[in-house]
C-alpha cells in the first residue's frame, strides 16, 4: 500500500505546483514592473514616444513638414467649438513660423510628453520630477495628497500637477495654464482654461501607456482624449543632453577667448 499512496500524492503535488506556477505567472505580469519601496509603480527612467503625435495629433497624410500619422486622438478629431476652429486653421497656415517650439518656448503639458525628444522621470513617494531634454525645463507632479493651489492665476507653462494612484495607474490632474502654447506642430491649441487629466500606466517594465484627457470650455465642445506609448531608453550609458535651445542666438558671444582664438563664430563652424 505504501507504494501506492505516493502516486496520487505526487500527482496532487504536481497539480498544486502547477497551479502555483500559473498563479505566479499571472501575478508576474504586475510584479515585473519596477516599484518603489512603498509598492507604487516606479516610472523612474528616460522615456520617449515613437509616434508622430507632435507633428499632428489628428490623422494626416505625409506632407512637406510632417511624416504621415494615423493620429493619437480617440475618435480621430479634436472637437473644436465653431468659434475656435478659425484660430486653429490660422495656426496651421502659419505653422512653419508661429509654432512656439520654433522659439524654443517650453512645450507645455501634454506636448512635452510626446515631443520627439527624451525626458527623464525621477520619482520619490512624495513626487515625480520630469526633466525635459528640450529646453531642460522641470515639471513636478505632487503625489503627497496636496491639492491645486486655490489661486488659479499663475499661468504655468507646465501646469499645477497633482497626482494620485488608482491601482497601478498614476492619475494626474493639471490646471492653471499659460495659453501661448501649442499642442503640436500643426497648430492645435488650448486656452488658459485647459484642464488635463493624465493617466500613466505600465504596459510592461519598459513601456508606458500615456493617456491625457483635455477639457477646455473656451476651445473644445467636449473633453477629448489622446493616447501615446512611451518607450524606455535602454541604450548603454544613455543620458539626457541638455538642449536649452533659446540660448542659441547668443551662445557665440561667450566666454571671452584668448587673443589668438577671437573668432568665435568661425571656430564654432570649424568644429
Amino acid at each position: 500500500m505504501s507504494t501506492y499512496f505516493p502516486r496520487p500524492r505526487t500527482a496532487l503535488r504536481a497539480v498544486v505546483t502547477l497551479t502555483a506556477l500559473l498563479a505566479a505567472g499571472i501575478s508576474s505580469a504586475s510584479d515585473a514592473i519596477p516599484r518603489l519601496a512603498n509598492g507604487k509603480p516606479d516610472f523612474s527612467g528616460i522615456w520617449q514616444t515613437t509616434s508622430a503625435a507632435d507633428y499632428d495629433l489628428e490623422p494626416h497624410a505625409g506632407r512637406v513638414d510632417a511624416p504621415s500619422g494615423a493620429g493619437v486622438v480617440e475618435g480621430h478629431y479634436i472637437p473644436y467649438l465653431p468659434e475656435a476652429i478659425a484660430k486653429r486653421r490660422e495656426n496651421f497656415e502659419n505653422r512653419l513660423t508661429k509654432d512656439p517650439r520654433l522659439k524654443c518656448w517650453t512645450l507645455g503639458t501634454p506636448r512635452g510628453i510626446y515631443y520627439p525628444a527624451p525626458f527623464q522621470i525621477f520619482q520619490r513617494p512624495r513626487d515625480l520630477t520630469i526633466v525635459f531634454q528640450f529646453g531642460h525645463s522641470v515639471r513636478t507632479i505632487h503625489t503627497n495628497n496636496t491639492r491645486h493651489q486655490d489661486e488659479r492665476d499663475r499661468g504655468y507653462w507646465l501646469g499645477d500637477s497633482r497626482g494620485h494612484w488608482e491601482g497601478d495607474t498614476l492619475v494626474v490632474d493639471v490646471v492653471d495654464f499659460y495659453d501661448e502654447v501649442w499642442l503640436d506642430r500643426s497648430g492645435n491649441y488650448h486656452s488658459t482654461d485647459l484642464h488635463v487629466v493624465e493617466r500613466w500606466t505600465f504596459l510592461d517594465a519598459n513601456t508606458i501607456e500615456y493617456r491625457a484627457t483635455l477639457e477646455d470650455p473656451q476651445v473644445y465642445s467636449r473633453p477629448w482624449t489622446l493616447s501615446v506609448i512611451l518607450h524606455r531608453h535602454r541604450e548603454k550609458n544613455f543620458q539626457l543632453v541638455e538642449d536649452y535651445c533659446f540660448t542659441l542666438p547668443y551662445e557665440e558671444h561667450y566666454p571671452p577667448r584668448p587673443p589668438q582664438q577671437q573668432a568665435p563664430v568661425a571656430s564654432r563652424e570649424a568644429r
Binding site: 520654433l102 507653462w157 543620458q239 543632453v241 541638455e242 540660448t247 542659441l248 542666438p249 547668443y250 561667450y254
Partner: protein
C-alpha cells in the same frame, strides 16, 4: 508688444534688480522679507570632511534633500561677494573672497584673461556689444559655479542621482559611474559625475561650455575647464560648504579653489514666492503639517535694463528649424 513675465523672474524682482547699483541691491535685499538677510554673514564656517552621522536615504546616500541658499551675497562680485564696484568701508568688514586659494582671494588669471574680465566689468552697466551682457539677463542658466550664489535652490536625491534645481537651470549629477559625455559636447550646466565619501559629495565636472560667466564682474573659465567639486555637509544637516577646484590652462596660471557657504531652509523658515533664498509656497492640503513646495521656474524675461533690451526667451520669430 505684450510683456511676458512668467513665474521664475517675477516683475517685483525685476524691478528690484533693474538699474540699481550693487550696493543698493544689498539694501533692498535686507529690507524685504526673506530676501537675503542671511546673505549678510561675513564669515565662512569651517566644515571638516569626515564621516556622515546624519540621516540616510534607503540607497545609503546622506539625506541632504531640500532647499539651500548661499549665505554671503550674490553674483555682483565673485572676489568681494558683499562688495562690488561701489562698496564702502573696510574690506575686512565684508565676507571674504569666494577664492579661498590662492590666499590673496584673486582668481589667478593669465594677463589676457584678467583684461577680458576687466573689460566686461567696465561695460556691465552700459553694454553696447552682445558679449557685454550678463547671460543671466537673457535667462541663460546660471551654470557652474554661479548657480550656487544666485537664487536659492533645491536638492532632490534618487538612487544613482543627485538633482540640483536652480533658478534658472538644472543639473543632473550621475552617481552610477557612467563615463562623461564626449569632450566636444559642451553644456551650460556641464556634465557631472559624482560619488559620496562620508559627509562629502565629490563631483567631477567636465564638458562645461563656460558661457554663463561667474557674475556681473565678468569672471570666467573657458570650455576647457575641469572642476572638481566637494559638497561638504555638516552632520547637523543645517549647512554645507561648496568647495571647488578650477583647473583651466587656457585661462588661469594655476588651479584655484572657490568656497561658497550655504545653509538649509525648511518649513521653519518663511516661504517667499518671489524672494531670494527660499522661493516656495505653502501647499494646499488637509493635513496638520506645514508643507512648503517649489513652483515651476521658467524664465522668460529677466533684468531687461541691463544690456539694453536684453530679454531671455525670444518673443518673436523662430530661432530653430528642427
Amino acid at each position: 508688444m505684450r510683456l511676458v513675465i512668467r513665474n521664475t523672474i517675477h516683475a517685483t524682482m525685476a524691478s528690484i534688480l533693474a538699474g540699481l547699483l550693487p550696493t543698493v541691491i544689498h539694501a533692498q535685499q535686507a529690507a524685504s522679507p526673506g530676501s537675503g538677510l542671511s546673505r549678510r554673514e561675513t564669515t565662512v564656517p569651517v566644515i571638516a570632511r569626515g564621516e556622515w552621522t546624519g540621516p540616510r536615504l534607503a540607497d545609503g546616500q546622506p539625506d541632504v534633500s531640500g532647499h539651500w541658499s548661499n549665505t554671503i551675497g550674490n553674483h555682483n562680485s565673485f572676489e568681494d561677494p558683499q562688495g562690488g564696484g561701489r562698496a564702502t568701508g573696510p574690506r575686512q568688514a565684508r565676507a571674504p573672497s569666494r577664492v579661498s586659494d590662492p590666499a590673496d582671494g584673486r582668481i589667478p588669471y593669465q594677463p589676457w584673461a584678467r583684461a577680458a574680465q576687466h573689460a566686461f566689468a567696465a561695460n556691465f552697466n552700459n553694454p553696447t556689444e552682445p558679449w557685454q551682457i550678463e547671460p543671466l539677463a537673457r535667462c541663460a542658466p546660471g551654470g557652474v559655479p554661479k548657480s550656487f550664489y544666485w537664487h536659492g535652490y533645491e536638492i532632490r536625491q534618487y538612487p544613482g542621482y543627485v538633482l540640483l534645481l536652480f533658478t534658472p537651470g538644472t543639473r543632473i549629477i550621475h552617481l552610477d559611474g557612467k563615463p562623461h559625455l564626449p569632450e566636444n559636447v559642451k553644456l551650460w550646466n556641464a556634465d557631472s559625475r559624482g560619488r559620496w565619501e562620508g559627509n562629502t559629495l565629490i563631483v567631477d565636472v567636465r564638458n562645461n561650455n563656460s558661457k554663463a560667466l561667474f557674475g556681473r564682474e565678468g569672471d570666467f573659465a573657458s570650455e576647457n575647464v575641469h572642476i572638481e567639486e566637494r559638497y561638504i555637509f555638516s552632520n547637523d544637516g543645517k549647512r554645507y560648504n561648496y568647495v571647488a577646484t578650477f583647473t583651466d590652462p587656457t585661462v588661469y596660471t594655476r588651479p584655484w579653489t572657490a568656497t561658497i557657504p550655504a545653509r538649509r531652509y525648511t518649513e521653519a523658515d518663511e516661504a517667499v514666492r518671489h524672494g531670494w533664498d527660499y522661493e516656495t509656497q505653502p501647499a494646499n492640503h488637509d493635513g496638520p503639517e506645514l508643507i512648503h513646495e517649489r513652483e515651476e521656474r521658467i524664465c522668460v524675461e529677466n533684468n531687461g535694463p541691463f544690456g539694453g533690451g536684453a530679454v531671455g526667451v525670444p518673443l518673436d520669430g523662430p530661432i530653430i528649424s528642427r
